[in-house]
């Protein structure tokens, strides 16, 4: 052997543990950058989720059965009352509904006369919220509809009170729903009372913020924000949040406006994933339909 080199080992032992550790540190770091910075590892996530999804489902089954069994027994008692109440409610809103149909047809005619775009009718599919993401850094939940039901990333999600969020990843059997309050989500909104447009950003702590509104803006606590439909993701007219705090001082050009989302999917519930007919994307944005 060449002088200065180590003596040949008696047993082949492969690379030292430190070398293997170095290799795995480099590998995790590169995975991390590729995933967080470029979002380029969705295929790997899809592959692993085929294994991890059924495991999670199995792990959560005992708890779910207990909760559902309890809820079922209670629901049986409540169902009778509920049916009665719904019957009377239905009667009560029947005249309103008739009027609404009349108004809708009238509205359609008027819009035709004015040569405005027709408001498309919106369909969707209901999905159950399976669980909240365990990662404490994000506000996400998982729902039980996935690629096999035709769900794709980017679809908006609502419940009976208003917008809940947006589908950000679709797996085979489930999909990841990022809530409005996640730090990475923003919704173009309109103030219902004044018609002024703005963008609501999630704060990551259960609230939303309207940024870049001048201190002179006409906005008061209690104002309802609804989607403006400008982004072609959320259809116009769905309620989003209620303004809970407005502070502005003259030293700052922008007012500090906090809003509380009306819908909440963090507790177990049923949500509606909307199928929105996408208008043709602009050429620049065609490559990047993801809102991130």
């Amino acid at each position: 052997m060449v002088e200065g080199s180590a003596a040949p080992p008696l047993f082949r032992r492969g690379p030292t543990p430190l070398a293997i550790l170095g290799f795995y540190i480099m590998l995790s770091a590169s995975l991390f950058v590729l995933d967080m910075r470029f979002g380029a590892l969705e295929f790997l996530r899809q592959g692993i989720s085929v294994v991890s999804d059924p495991l999670q489902y199995a792990a959560q089954t005992p708890m779910r059965l207990a909760v559902e069994g309890h809820a079922y027994l209670r629901a049986l008692e409540e169902a009778e009352d509920e049916i009665e109440r719904l019957k009377t409610d239905k009667l009560a809103i029947a005249p309103e509904l008739n009027r609404l149909q009349h108004l809708e047809s009238e509205n359609a005619e008027l819009r035709e006369i004015l040569a405005l775009n027709q408001r498309e009718t919106i369909s969707g599919q209901a999905a159950n919220v399976l669980r909240a993401a365990r990662d404490p850094f994000v506000r996400r939940v998982y729902v039980d509809k996935g690629l096999k039901d035709g769900i794709t990333a980017g679809q908006p999600v609502i419940d009976e009170k208003g917008v809940v969020g947006q589908i950000t990843r679709a797996f085979l059997l489930s999909s990841e729903l990022t809530l409005l309050t996640d730090k990475n989500l923003a919704v173009p909104v309109q103030i219902q009372r004044t018609g002024q447009r703005s963008v609501a950003f999630g704060l990551g702590n259960g609230q939303m913020e309207l940024r870049y509104m001048p201190t002179s803006a006409d906005i008061v606590v209690g104002d309802i924000l609804h989607t403006s439909g400008l982004d072609d993701v959320y259809p116009a007219g769905f309620q989003v949040a209620e303004v809970t705090l407005v502070t502005g001082d003259s030293s700052n050009a922008f007012a500090h406006i906090i809003a509380e989302p009306l819908a909440s999917a963090e507790s177990r519930s049923v949500v509606m994933i909307l199928n929105v007919k996408k208008s043709l994307p602009l050429e620049e944005e065609a490559d990047n339909p993801d809102s991130r």
Binding site: F32, S52, P136
Partner: protein, 175 residues
């Protein structure tokens, strides 16, 4: 002078590979419970990996830590590589300090595991903050403390099968 935990009249049988795999699988299921946003939940997989890397450093491969980490990343919806890096580091450290650790009692071992779990958790938080996330709360640092407190019961539980003698012999009792 306290009694070191490796000083014992008991003779340990080697851990069965299937028992190692089973315990890791159960830890994975425990980690996947729908505990939502409870920040203080212990990391069962980290605890079990740490134990096996310390006891059975020769059989444990670093790639098993890595792949368990990747599965946890996808299951949690965390950044890919976050748990993988943490588990590989814990596994390596546990393996390299094992010869010293067994001279301490379980209580002292717990005290020594705490900084390891704390620093790995801090590393995970640091990585996410670097990526631009907001800090979710100090409850995150309670989780490694609870994980460390679970060290003595987990050690006793995971050592149980190794204490069972192959055949009971009245003349040569293995206690």
């Amino acid at each position: 002078m306290q009694t070191p935990s490796n000083y014992s009249r008991r003779i340990l049988r080697p851990a069965h590979p299937w028992f190692i795999a089973l315990s890791l699988f159960i830890a994975l299921l425990l980690n996947m419970l729908s505990t939502g946003q409870w920040l203080f939940m212990p990391d069962w997989v980290m605890l079990t990996l740490c134990f096996w890397n310390m006891r059975e450093g020769r059989t444990m491969k670093m790639r098993s830590s890595f792949f368990l980490g990747l599965v946890m990343d996808v299951a949690n919806g965390a950044a890919l590589g976050q748990h993988a890096l943490a588990y590989v580091l814990v596994g390596y450290t546990a393996g390299s300090i094992s010869r010293r650790m067994f001279w301490f009692s379980l209580t002292r071992q717990t005290l020594l595991m705490l900084p390891l779990f704390l620093s790995v958790t801090a590393l995970q938080i640091f990585i996410r903050l670097m990526a631009g996330e907001t800090f979710p709360g100090w409850g995150l640092f309670i989780s490694p403390v609870i994980t460390a407190l679970l060290w003595p019961p987990a050690s006793l539980l995971l050592l149980l099968p190794q204490y069972q003698p192959e055949e009971r012999d009245e003349n040569r009792p293995i206690l």
